[in-house]
Symmetry: C3
Subunit: 264 residues, 3 copies
């Protein structure tokens, strides 16, 4: 547990630059949550800009929540730069499974680039892994099979870390499978929790290996959510409290509250 | 009154998918307010994506607050899909009357598609209805004539439901004219209330007829605003309280607080 | 001091229309902060739209935080319109110094248009002024030389007002150099404070001369930050409190709290 808690301090110490190309719905939340955990967000999507921005970044986070052809062009340029520089890439395949355009774009990035982390809900990841699933807009529907097995198999196939967010988050690198039980239902009652999780997975992956980084990231975000829910009167007041709790989260609180299960 | 209050429950029960193509200023507020009322928002604007997304949606909400040629192209593709599938379309003609580009774009959608609901401020709707009015940026200025008559006439001409937001919201389907007196001035002191109203009109229209749906939507949003104003210290704290109140709004509170006037 | 405090009232009285072409990260904050200080925001970036919108605006604010070719095209059209109509232009060169694309775009606007105000952090302004500096993403790094001298020289060279934000904000029109010590570190712990400052500098510049306007704007925003920090539990709760404090700021409080130093 100490090693996960330590990553929290590492991010704050190293303050990695998290280059994000993301959707226009939750981008402000992603920027603020990145700051709350001690990293620096920079949003840049123009092909002319990303080629230089990626060189000074510690990680690239791609989120296809409101993708279009222009944005994909920028994502490709940034991902190529990340590949060349050996910078890890985190992909959030928002809405994969809901439309072919989203599914195919996510698959394209998975196949053409050395993705370090792919983080989505059960429906999105199952879709990419070829498991029968339904995705409604950006929300997960029913899925077939055991998400732990889906995560492990897909992670192994692509040599990456897979994060399936849910009541229990599943994280796998193809060998280990870990569950994170931190978090509260209120996190699903605001727009942007999934996107913020990807940003935080990015910030943590910038300072350590993706598997440990994502376990720590999902745990930290979950604990912040639990803290925020204690005082929130609804989804509106939950959000400011969520940021407050993330910014205030200490190593000690992490150690006390983390619910991490090593399944294998 | 029971029939309007009932719609509140219907939305929460059916959880319609509200496909929104909207401006980048208030999009996060629209997503969150959609969730607060029990519907699911999905933002998608790429022509390649909207053709499939619209098929699983319960309603399409178009908001031209920060329109450009690319976005209009996506809106046209989505509207064509909605037309084919018989999915209702809600149009928010933000800034119509302020610039010819906005006025003409709004007119184009009114003329080319079976718009179910057009919701704007008095200046925007008056402009579209050919009534002398001034619009300053995205704010309504002075208008000529009686907004009730403007709403009724324009609704009749286009066979749609017209919502004019204001101190008293006016809703008309060309026959009936209804006023909603719920709401507080603070709602006009934050960016996004009008856009959120369109999103909520969309969510309600997805589960019932547009006229009743919009009356219920404007009433529900107004009551949430009244509740939020009770504790808010200013526009900053009003916003989280607004979302909290919307999420907590019950049928009972709706029945107790609704101020709906059937004018004819 | 009275003359700065008076500008606060002037903005609320005249309610200028602040035409903003800005980044998609903090645009909602910019809109809300503009309203809090009594001005009206309008976001419009399509070349077809800006040519008419700029005609009714009191000021144009350009922020290159998430620039791309399409947005630059809209900015050029708007800036040309502003130039023709004699409307002041405020430029926020976000990330200049971090990438050549940002630096060159900022330089292009400085060279081709009569910019009234350029507002950035020390790294951004130093980069534009040809002083050795580092910029990391959108955050200032180390700089060479005295920022007061950099501001004065660059302001003189371009015949504009230069604002360097920081622990002490520096404002210069090439002759006078003024420091503003209002503000708190928490303002740097949320995304968007710099962008909001540019929007408020714009609102104030719309009603008075740029030098006095920017001094008053930076002071007013700093005081609002100080007030908000008194009750905030973290960056999340700071933000709503920041808006509340800005909206509630009176001339009396301004006079009591302003920390303005006329250096020369």
């Amino acid at each position: 547990m100490q090693r996960y808690a330590h990553i929290l301090d590492l991010v704050r110490e190293r303050n990695p630059l998290v280059h994000q190309i993301t959707n226009y719905v939750t981008v402000n939340d992603c920027a603020n949550m990145t700051i709350c955990f001690g990293a620096s967000p920079v949003m840049s999507h123009a092909p002319e800009d990303v080629v230089d921005m990626i060189k000074i970044a510690g990680v690239l986070v791609l989120n296809i929540g409101t993708l279009d052809e222009n944005q994909i062009e920028g994502m490709l340029a940034a991902a190529n730069g990340a590949k060349k520089c050996g910078i890890p890439i985190v992909l959030d395949p928002v809405g994969a499974g809901a439309t072919p355009y989203r599914t195919q774009t996510a698959e394209r990035f998975m196949n053409e680039f050395p993705i370090s982390v792919v983080k989505g809900n059960a429906g999105e990841i199952s879709t990419l892994a070829g498991v029968s699933a339904t995705v409604r807009g950006v929300d997960s529907g029913s899925i077939s099979g055991d998400p732990k097995e889906t995560a492990r198999r897909y992670a192994k196939e692509y040599g990456c870390t897979v994060v399936i967010s849910g009541a229990e988050d599943i994280v796998s690198d193809g060998k280990r499978v870990v569950g994170v039980l931190n978090g509260v239902p209120m996190m699903g009652k605001i727009s942007g929790t999934g996107c913020m999780a990807s940003a935080v997975c990015g910030a943590f992956t910038a300072v350590t290996d993706p598997m440990d980084g994502c376990i720590a990231a999902m745990t930290a975000l979950g604990i912040a959510g639990e803290e925020a829910a204690k005082t929130a009167k609804g989804p509106g007041s939950f959000k400011p409290a969520f940021f407050d709790a993330a910014a205030a989260l200490t190593k000690e609180q992490f150690l006390k509250s983390a619910k991490i299960t090593e399944y294998s």
